[in-house]
Symmetry: D2
Subunit: 499 residues, 4 copies
């Protein structure tokens, strides 16, 4: 399908995608595919006020009813899966299967959130005083700003908004400036759900498009208690303290520098498949992309040989073609950063396989590259830095303790994994003395988390958690209640105060 066909199939009108100030280019061929209107920073106060107004109404709507909206969203997403996936491909350059997979993730989180809407479990708690009852309840907190990055242009929004909406919080979405169309297409879908739902307050789900001024308005507003921001560590390092400084709650999903340890007992064929997908998928632009391979010295050369062989046969090109596995980088600047990193790696003693710019057999105008493998003599500064491109640094190790030390010795703490068939190694990797990441897997790569688990990481990854488990608590306020139904007034801890 042509760019235009994709845009139209997603329900965006000519008027919506032309005449604006923000030019949208497809990484597939660099073509400008739309010019969309940006939100005027001066309007942000009104937008936030509307969200607060919506909050007043939405917080008293019973949660299972709020869940019905999310259920309808899930239904509409199912119906529009291919169309929305295509916009993801168009705008983020993901291959078709990954574009669809991202929409599937949206659908999954909707299912989860619908179930959650009849739970939102707090606790009843034993009180130490006769005639007293204690409980803990979770209440809506208020508007939730969702700042998303280009590489998961829709899933991250849905993770946050499905939970936030069920939890009673209105949402304001600021997508990446690189992917406004997927955001607009998602809002079309949400609007259909809202229409079927019927009586949601106006302003419950808002979209704001634009640059830093828009984001700052959300980050700085006292009336936006939650700011969920996905992106670079640099961005998060600014947003986090700002939100904290005005008593808001940041939920940060920042950079990863994800590693795999491959032990001698590993199923190497399986490892190779996992490595290729997690290092090369989404052209190395997932926050959970595999960036560091820590292979036991006894199998390292063999593994690298298998990988370079596998890499050499990967179909690179137009992500819309069903056979393509490696699509374009998001833009040429990204490719330049990749090349610079590879140069640095070489300067540090690394041996680089692949990594060249690809210009033949691919759509012209896009930034296509061969995924790179860089065998490194040690974990250098370049290795410790997250470069958002398909570079896989390879290092050797001798003992598991050493491998874990290498794994942990980076500033980021998102995802990690080990390939081993040895249960002692697997368990040690998952133990308190093992990986320091928020995600630690065994015999699967670092990427591709299921929505049932909490997603996020430690250290410079920002500490936020989204998606499953009790990540929903991040969108609510906790209240501890003690109810005295007796006619006495005993004090806790046996304190006496009689006058």
């Amino acid at each position: 399908m042509s760019h235009n066909d994709i845009i139209q199939a997603a329900g965006l009108t000519e008027a919506e995608v032309t005449g604006g100030t923000l030019a949208v280019h497809s990484p597939i061929d660099g073509a400008e595919v739309a010019r969309v209107r940006e939100t005027d920073p001066a309007d942000m106060a009104a937008i936030i006020a509307k969200s607060q107004e919506a909050f007043k109404a939405w917080r008293t709507v019973p949660a299972p009813r709020r869940g019905e909206l999310v259920r309808l969203l899930g239904e509409e997403l199912r119906a529009a899966k291919d169309e929305l996936g295509a916009v993801v491909t168009l705008e983020a350059g993901k291959i078709t299967s990954e574009g669809s997979g991202e929409v599937q993730e949206m659908i999954d989180i909707c299912d989860f959130a619908v179930g959650l809407s009849r739970q939102i479990y707090g606790l009843t708690i034993a009180s130490e005083r006769p005639g007293h009852r204690m409980m803990e309840t979770w209440h809506p907190l208020g508007p939730c700003a969702i700042i998303t990055a280009f590489n998961f242009p829709v899933a991250v929004w849905s993770w946050n908004s499905a939970l936030a909406l069920v939890c009673g919080d209105p949402v304001i979405w600021k997508p990446s400036e690189k992917t406004p169309l997927t955001a607009m297409a998602s809002m079309k879908i949400m609007e259909r759900a809202l229409k079927r739902f019927g009586d949601a307050p106006e302003g419950l789900c808002q979209l704001v498009i634009g640059g830093p001024a828009i984001g700052e308005a959300l980050v700085n507003s006292q009336d936006v208690p939650i700011v969920s921001a996905t992106g670079s560590t640099r961005m998060g390092g600014i947003v986090g303290p700002k939100v904290a400084g005005r008593w808001g709650r940041p939920i940060l999903e920042l950079g990863g520098n994800n590693a795999m340890i491959v032990a001698p007992s590993a199923d190497l064929d399986m490892a190779v498949r996992a490595i290729v997908f997690s290092a090369v998928g989404t052209a190395g632009q997932r926050c959970t992309t595999l960036r560091r391979l820590i292979a036991h010295n006894s199998i390292k050369d063999d593994l690298v040989a298998k990988l370079t062989k596998a890499y050499s046969s990967l179909p690179i090109g137009d992500p819309r073609k069903s056979t393509t596995l490696v699509g374009p980088l998001i833009d040429h600047a990204s490719r330049d950063r990749m090349q610079a990193a590879l140069e640095k790696a070489k300067a540090e003693g690394g041996t680089v396989h692949g990594g060249k710019t690809v210009t033949s057999g691919v759509p012209q105008g896009g930034a296509y590259v061969e995924p790179a493998i860089a065998e490194m003599p040690a974990q250098t500064d370049t290795v410790r830095t997250e470069t958002f491109a398909p570079i896989l640094y390879v290092m050797g190790y001798e003992t598991l303790d050493e491998a874990i030390a290498i794994q942990n010795d980076v500033p980021q703490g998102l995802s990690s994994c080990i390939f081993t068939l040895n249960m002692r190694e697997a368990e040690a990797f998952l133990s308190a003395a093992g990986s320091d990441c928020g995600i630690a897997n065994v015999n699967i790569g670092p990427s591709g988390a299921e929505i049932g688990g909490a997603f996020g990481g430690e250290k410079e990854t920002g500490g936020g958690r989204e998606s499953g488990s009790d990540a929903w608590k991040g969108y609510m306020r906790r209240q501890t209640n003690t109810i005295n139904y007796s006619a006495q007034l005993p004090l806790a801890q046996g304190v006496k105060f009689d006058f």
Copy 2:
């Protein structure tokens, strides 16, 4: 008992309480009771390094074994309850019953933490992929700095350290400069527990004494992942963003401006008793002290009359005397701030009952005051400000919605309560549209929380939670694990990537 006797009974040696640079005065009579040594800021790096070293060992000690240390601490606290309570009285000026109550709170949290040490429950989670298992585990996070305030000189430390220790984290305690003796006495007790325990790593529990430079070293160190700080909103507003900015985790327990709504149906006698204790107890220097009384217009005058009568008979004086209910303020500056606030309140149209400085019948040198009641025409700026002294601002209301709006219209969000026998009012107060505080009670005052519930508040109170429920999660890192034990490598969300 004399000051010296109290100090000796707590096990502090002459050498420990003399010759230092930090003068300790008792609020009872302003006497200098000790001069203790301060930690050299230059030593902080080594202290933190020692804590990190202890962490490496402690994190692999099984949690139930870690719990045994806390159990022994509980035993030792039981044995030393009166002695430690007396130091609290000496140094913080609390009446005897409250000093003991604070130690009881330490004991309670130890009991709770011991049970927790065999739980620390994570989740096993259904995976969407065949031959896969998912789980969530909680791991120790690292050294935990505990910065405490003068008004709960020991309980707050124990809340944090009992949990942190069971969770696998070493602790570094920086007490208020006003209360180093209680900290030192607590460490004596902890040392006895450590000795009985046997093989805890050195540096597991450290005490640092001193001023801002000491605190800053903890706040700024990358090697102190958790900073639990209790104190003023001003302090927290600095600490929070700093810790967040270096990817640490702040747990903030800051100011409160706690209110009680008294409805027409309230049991007024019970309300009066609750008000007096929670407004006057600890001389109004609890973070949960009742500061605002929002009384229905139909009963307001009657209630104020009862209160002024009750206030007039409160025994003010030496907190060591068993009959005393109102001890001294922490210092004269505090008294001056109280007087200034009362002046402002008058200027804003308030009518003040009581509040005078008391000089007769009380130990000379201390800052004794009559607790004050200030009837206010509206919720003015002075009312919105937390003054750490026994001032109770009284306002009227007509409808419950109005009362809740007044309750919520302050920057702080710690504790709150309603007195009513009407279940509709009680429930509305606890609902999503009710109190916006972290604690909301019915028919008990805002202070005196049990340790079984999570303690902490919203907005400028800082959002931290300590003590019961799942507050322990704040001391650990969450890890999401997916284990593939099959010989297949399916991707989540049905993504296909075959090469």
Copy 3:
């Protein structure tokens, strides 16, 4: 719609509803509406074996995938809501709104179960031994027999099967002999879901129709580990011990004798509405039907007057008419039992209002009755007995303790409620010394539970729990795992055994 039209609209073919040995009569007019085939008891062994076979496959299907089947079931139920509700009306005699409400309950539980399918949370648990990990996992248990009663001919099946299927258990449904058509219509819907799902094992959801021999085969089979039986206490008293005796797990939902306490402070208008719905709805044939009214002496006469007035205006008749509120009893035997109970009540000193057989303005052939109110001098044997008909026994009380004692002094323990605006009364009723029922409500009637809570009761009600909260655990087996990944073999409790 005619009986036939309803049957056809539900997708049942002529062949399916004729020629069988089980005659189905509609309580609306007593007409025989179908003759369906009964399962040959000799086939039960094969049916159970097929279920076991399905279990072997289904238990390894990932739970979220199992959830997808339930999600599709929910979709199909939404699409067929009116048609299935109409069969409920036809066969059980429920009014239209209740027929639809029952299907809505099916839909709700599907939503809940879908969310659950990504949870099924077990625990990870702190181990006391170094290098050990503990966890608790929940595994499928095996075929689940679901024995349902006529009064909730479809909802109870869905409560059980939505959970059982997500939990990994095949189901075998034995509906009441009075309502095979609703069961067959439900299976049509399930088959559509199964078809869309694709690869479920054959025999996952089976229906068996017939009498006691069929039920006994399920109750007695070692290969049916779970027997969920809803019905009379007499039935449950036989099934429970039999299943327990062969090491199976019974989930019993038996009789209720549900009461409401009306306190002096109650909102009487609201109470009247709640009483009428919960005493009269489904013609008094819900297990949660209100059967006993315990009214404070000060308001009892007024309340009875309001009730008799309200009762006198209730539209009794054809349940298919949108204005009807009281449909027929299930059969004439039921009406006879009602009349006999009223006679006994009179003999015990009761004063009966209403309760007469209705023959005019109603379809001929049905067992229509006026709902009855019986003012009783005390809680007699007749009051203590559950008569499945719209009889409301009224008793007075003086103190709340007395009211609670009356409430608890029956053999059943399903549902209960209090109407009061006094929070002390409300809380006392919910406390450990309050209602002894599995369900205890405040200011709503005893019936009409939401699916988010666990449903079931104590004492002769059988102790089972279904629907929400962690009722799903009843369909699974719990496994406690300790994994030693160290090279040591420490024993628990410090036991030494060195050889």
Copy 4:
């Protein structure tokens, strides 16, 4: 220490251990060591009534206060650990380390229960109706009968009573007729705790001594809602249905036939140590004793050789000697059953190593045996039968599926384990298609569970759970509450019923 010294050291008076009708023999030497008084069956009604009376008071004591009693019990147990352990040795014949270990288990569960006493968490749940609140609370259920077996004469009581007491239930303990002294000694300890506690209701903890008539009184009484029974499957098969038949709640911990699978990759030295302890410890008389060894054919002979060698060096004899590892069987009848089983095994084709009666070097009068290893050609009827003695049946296997099938193909379902270093095997064993037992371990034996996990098993083991996780729910009743605080009366599922 002599028998008498042990009895006296445990605080039992001459009067208490003489003159009764129940003769107590020590398995050490068969000597009669006491004659204790039996409870008159005619007194059981009064005993149960007293328990019910205690319940009325105890249920309203706040749970943390109830926990204080259990904490004191833990303290007293710590103080009396050696003395009580010695009585266990005297009366049950356990070696000293195991006697102490059993008391340690009592202490551990007390610690756990104390923490639990500030939790007893129910849930707050999102309601689908505006102005409604839902929650689930757990309430005390009533007197709990605890029927224990000789082999864990004190731990099982403490598991049950620590939880029951914290949960608000009085307990009535019927110990094995073989071990009344340990029960009496435990009650002495409990009495000390009760005395320190102060105001517990009379009859909170009662002991009844005697035979079947005593047990039946508990099993049959409507006023004993919980019957926790540990012992044989035969006993449980009678008790379970009886209790179920009168609407009580049985908690059954019955027989086990526990297996270990030893895979080719297993650490054989570790396996040998685990096998010896778990097959031979407590002379094979634990419910979790290892009875079946399923060894991969490639290592089976080697393993058996190592085992027979290890067995040959085990010190058999007086359990009071610190070097002894194998004490006596409980009595001569037990030895005879062991011999009979070995004969049968031989007749079925088995090869038996060891198993002979030992008469030299052991105290005369006791039933001492060599532990036996029986290599079996298949899993015969004898192997499928639990013989309460140290017989280890050994079978070979070729594939893991086959091993798991053998493991599961017995009527019992208590404990199980696998020794393997292969993570795929370990995980498969723990999966839904793996072990069907309540306990499944990796690289540790089937016995020696920690108290933090739920303890119990499936199938003929009875399905009960005790000790950790949420086993406490078995001692309470669950109540689902919906509170309507609005002025409206919406019905669930959108049902309309307006009159």
